[in-house]
Amino acid sequence: MNKKEILKLAKGFRGRAKNCIRIARERVEKALQYSYRDRRTKKRDMRSLWIQRISAGTRSCDMQVHYGHFMHGLKKENIQLNRKVLSEISMHEPYSFKALVDISREAFPGNRHIYHRPRKVDMSITA
């Protein structure tokens, strides 16, 4: 790539990296490497954001439902909505999302009935 193309790609960089070709060339190469890598990580980040939003949505109902239990219930009911759409529903259509949470809870009520071994008693000293 010639100098003009590099300096065009270097717009918005900090300091001499946007003006001087020697520095700009390095920074632009790095920027292109980052953009290559991040086109792949963007898909992962987006999915993680959807999962966080769905999890927040399920926990904000009256009965707290974990994300994992929620998704398991949906798979059991063969509801094939993907996480992107589920996160949009939880934001824009709260009542529909509540209905989905209810369906999932009916299909998979959680691990309440599993016996947990007794925990250690809290031995705190009074102040």
Binding site: R53, A56, R59, M91, A127
Partner: protein, 259 residues
């Protein structure tokens, strides 16, 4: 579509949308007895036959049918016509966006109007005999906004500000009251300052909770801005009555100190 009958010839002027609706059979069903080819002739001069034909019933029926076709086409065009966008803004809209932005296939990102500071909810917590870390964790989650379905990591969507009263009565379990150390360094050699929980609580009690919550918020520009949303006060009063803070919902069952 305009159909002009000049003598025995018919000139069909096709319009762009209705070229398919031109029905050659309808033209040929006219009672035109002429040797000339329909549809491609040069307009002939007006003749007596021309005037007569225009009064006939066939011609009038034909014209009515054409008019109805025209009306249907207009109606279809009006339905399919996209909403009018002024000329200087048309570059902003793609074909698919003419009905409005697509909210189902693109991940929502908050606009500036979605996180105005003046409209965020305020909460108040009474810190008497609450376990320090558990309380700080709940506060940090609320400030960050992680309990909302509209959570965005790069934007401050949190339930704004939390007022903590009676900060000097916050509790810790075990021997932390005398053994937990708070350190700070002035930057110079030998400048490490160490205080225990007890001493700091007597000196500046707000700092304990602030230190705890700050450690649980993200570190960075956004984290520092979020930290400003926490307000801690020593006594039972706070100056934020005007914001009408609600009670902070705490879901942790072990936050209250068991005495």
């Amino acid at each position: 579509m305009a159909l002009l009958l000049h003598g025995s010839s018919a000139i069909v002027l096709p319009s762009p949308s209705s070229s398919s609706s031109v029905n050659p059979s309808s033209i040929s069903s006219c009672n035109i007895s002429s040797p000339f080819v329909v549809g491609f002739s040069v307009p002939a001069s007006k003749s007596a036959f021309n005037m007569d034909y225009r009064m006939t019933r066939d011609f009038r029926d034909f014209r009515m049918a054409l008019k109805e076709e025209e009306k249907e086409e207009e109606r279809k065009e009006r339905k399919e016509k996209p909403p009018h966008i002024p000329l200087d803004q048309r570059w902003m809209f793609e074909e698919s966006e003419l009905d409005g932005p697509d909210i189902w296939n693109t991940t929502w990102y908050p606009k500036a109007a979605d996180h105005v500071n003046t409209e965020k909810p305020w909460f108040v917590v009474d810190a008497t005999d609450k376990i320090l870390g558990r309380l700080a964790s709940t506060i940090a989650v609320q400030i960050r906004g992680k309990n909302l379905a509209t959570y965005t990591p790069s934007v401050d969507m949190g339930a704004f500000v939390i007022v903590k009263v009676n900060a000097e009565k916050v509790a810790v379990s075990g021997k932390k009251r005398t053994q937990k150390l708070y350190r700070r360094h002035s930057g110079r050699p030998g400048g490490m300052k160490i205080e225990t929980f007890d001493q700091l609580q007597q000196r500046i009690p707000e700092r304990i909770i602030e230190h705890a919550v700050r450690g649980m918020l993200p570190k960075g520009r956004l984290g520092r801005a979020l930290f400003n949303h926490l307000k801690v006060y020593k006594g039972p009063d706070h100056p934020h009555e005007a914001q009408m803070p609600a009670e902070l919902p705490i879901r942790d069952k072990r936050v209250q100190k068991q005495s």
